[in-house]
């Protein structure tokens, strides 16, 4: 049987670097699904940022705590009532949007609690996924995680094209769109929706409409 295409691992360190590069010094950042707190430590130390993590798993929660990080145990699927509106500059959701029950609700929550949302999603528009579906007739699974299609935490499959459509529907502005190819962010990549294994989005809510135009908005070419 031919090797199956594997989705990016949420624990991929290279994604952390791409996210870190988006964060200015001295801001307030909330990491949704912070896991063992690895990314938060870097944001805290390398960006001198005020951080807060949200994590549902108790063992991961303890690992974050043991790094001296503030962390709150909560399930993203149950909303983030615990976090007051507008309390952060950035909310981060790395490789997790496809795992939540209601991605729309989570995106709305992210932009309620923070000025901007940084979302990294796997791109199911990748040519290998397409080839696999067409030639092998098999669903994609995640690299290095012991899951099959029937027990995978991935509940949703989206492409870069789909993400743009969702942002538009929610009236969120895409401040930044960065295809991640070979673990590196590639600005204005050609054929991004075919080549990127993941994509990073910085979204901004419609409440900040007055700010539109102040930041240069990237208008990528239409994906194929």
């Amino acid at each position: 049987m031919a090797a199956r295409y594997r989705l990016p691992d949420p624990r991929n360190v290279m994604t952390d670097q791409v996210i870190l590069e988006q964060i200015p010094q001295g801001c307030r950042v909330i990491d949704l699904g912070c896991g063992d707190g690895r990314l938060m430590v870097r944001i805290r130390d390398e960006r001198r940022a005020d951080v807060l993590g949200i994590e549902v798993d108790e063992d991961q929660f303890v690992k974050s705590l043991a790094k001296g990080l503030p962390v709150i145990r909560a399930d993203l699927d149950h909303g983030l009532n615990i976090v007051p509106s507008g309390s952060f500059d950035f909310s981060i959701l790395s490789q997790t949007l496809q795992e939540v029950r209601h991605p729309k609700d989570v995106l709305c929550e992210m932009l309620r609690i923070a000025h901007q949302a940084i979302v990294v999603v796997p791109n199911f528009g990748h040519w290998k996924v397409r080839r696999q579906v067409i030639l092998q007739g098999r669903a994609p699974v995640t690299d290095s995680l012991p899951y099959e299609w029937h027990n995978t935490p991935n509940l949703h499959f989206m492409s870069m094209h789909d993400m743009r459509e969702l942002a538009e529907e929610l009236n969120f502005r895409i401040v930044t769109e960065l295809p991640i190819i070979g673990g590196k962010a590639v600005k204005r990549a050609w054929g991004a929706n075919l080549r990127a294994e993941s994509a990073l989005y910085i979204l901004q809510g419609n409440l900040d409409a007055k700010e539109i135009g102040r930041t240069h908005s990237i208008r990528p070419s239409q994906p194929r």
Partner: protein
């Protein structure tokens, strides 16, 4: 302590016990420097009973103050000579335990108004030579904290690495953060909230009525006479139910009968079911060690506790300290449900504080923080390690 004493208790001592401990007493607030109470009264002198475990570091930066709950006392850990049971949090305080006495200097004192060594309504008023009784002034959680802070000063400890407590103890922790924001490095709040809920006040109301309706209560002037044991036992039985959960009662007793397997069909039989026997036992044991007036004064202090009322808002109350917070609740606690902890966490995020919070799974209801000690240590111990690291930087 002598070797002989240690051997005497050796069957009770494991490798993780701090061994024999002794209660100490100090008298503070000697007139004319008496304590001005929140309710307008003045009180002094005040004797404080306390215990300490573990070595104080030369820098005096490893102190953890333990705030006990409603009916606790200064004897939090280790063994008193000849005692049948260790301190009330012995599973959590000791070498290698949640509050590791190899690293930390732990202090616990009986609260103001209590009846286990610290001045309370059952103490002798030096001005009259009589028991205070109902002449004892009204006290609040804040007044309890004032006495604890004075004790710390007396012990030469300016700053605490952590203040920790559950239930009423958690309320004291919160008041510490509001009252002495500069004096604490972290605050660990277990199964508590920013205020006692109306439901909590309701339960206290019934318990207190049970005491005051006991003919032996005599307006609190029962010292040297028969004490209001039925009223106090009843108050304890009711309160005890609120510390358990449906699941824990089901698990421990179910509908099992106390004697035999068949109903007695006898209305006069008070303890048909095991749960009834258990509650009666809890009630009668409690009367032996607790003073009814103390119960009334302390539960009233709990009723009055409301951070927002006292300090403007929860965010204002907790906004002045740079302490780290750890807020823990339990999924089966219906006296201080998780919603109360979430309110605290929410306010702390709004105040831009370093806050961690978690709801733990346990069948044991409100009492979980006294029972599920390994689970609690797994959270508290790394939190304390990191707090110590941050202050030593």
């Amino acid at each position: 302590m002598s070797q002989e004493l240690i051997q005497e208790n050796s069957e009770n001592l494991d490798d993780h016990s701090i061994g024999l401990v002794e209660k100490e007493c100090v008298t503070l607030f000697e007139p004319p420097k008496v304590l001005n109470l929140a309710g307008g009264g003045r009180l002094g002198p005040i004797t404080v009973a306390y215990e300490t475990y573990g070595e104080l570091s030369p820098e005096r930066d490893n102190v953890i103050y333990v705030c006990h709950a409603l009916t606790g006392d200064a004897h939090a850990a280790g063994w008193h000579h000849g005692a049948e049971k260790p301190g009330w949090w012995d599973g959590f305080i000791g070498p290698g335990k949640g509050l590791d006495t190899d690293k930390y200097h732990v202090v616990c004192a009986n609260i103001l108004g209590g009846c286990q060594g610290t001045t309370g309504p059952g103490s002798i008023n030096p001005a009259t030579g009589q028991h205070y009784g109902r002449g004892f002034p009204f006290i609040t959680v804040g007044d309890m904290v004032e006495v604890q802070a004075a004790l710390m000063s007396y012990l030469g400890i300016e700053k605490l690495l952590a203040v920790i407590g559950g239930s009423l103890g958690g309320m004291q922790v919160l008041d510490w953060a509001a009252r002495y924001p500069e004096r604490i490095g972290s605050a660990i709040v277990l199964a508590a909230g920013a205020r006692l809920s109306a439901q909590g006040i309701a339960f206290n109301c019934v318990g207190n009525r049970a005491i005051s309706a006991d003919p032996h209560f005599r307006d609190g002037d029962y010292y040297g006479k028969e004490v209001p044991r039925y009223g106090l036992a009843l108050a304890r039985m009711l309160a005890h139910i609120t510390y358990l959960s449906e699941a824990s009662i089901e698990m421990k007793f179910g509908r099992r009968l106390q004697n035999g397997s068949a109903f007695a069909y006898d209305l006069l039989k008070e303890t048909e079911f095991q749960i009834e026997s258990y509650l009666h036992y809890q009630g009668s044991r409690f009367v032996e060690r607790f003073d009814a007036n103390s119960y009334l004064y302390i539960t009233r202090a709990m009723d009055y506790f409301d951070l927002a009322e006292t300090y403007g808002s929860v965010t204002q109350a907790l906004g002045k300290t740079s302490a780290r917070f750890l807020i823990v609740s339990y999924d089966t606690d219906w006296l201080f449900p998780t919603s109360q902890s979430l309110e605290l966490t929410n306010a702390l995020i709004a105040a831009k504080k370093h806050v961690s919070s978690i709801e733990l799974h346990s069948p044991f209801g409100h009492d979980s923080f006294l029972i599920e000690l390994e689970q609690l240590a797994k959270i508290v111990s790394p939190f304390l390690d990191q707090t110590l690291k941050s202050v030593q930087h």
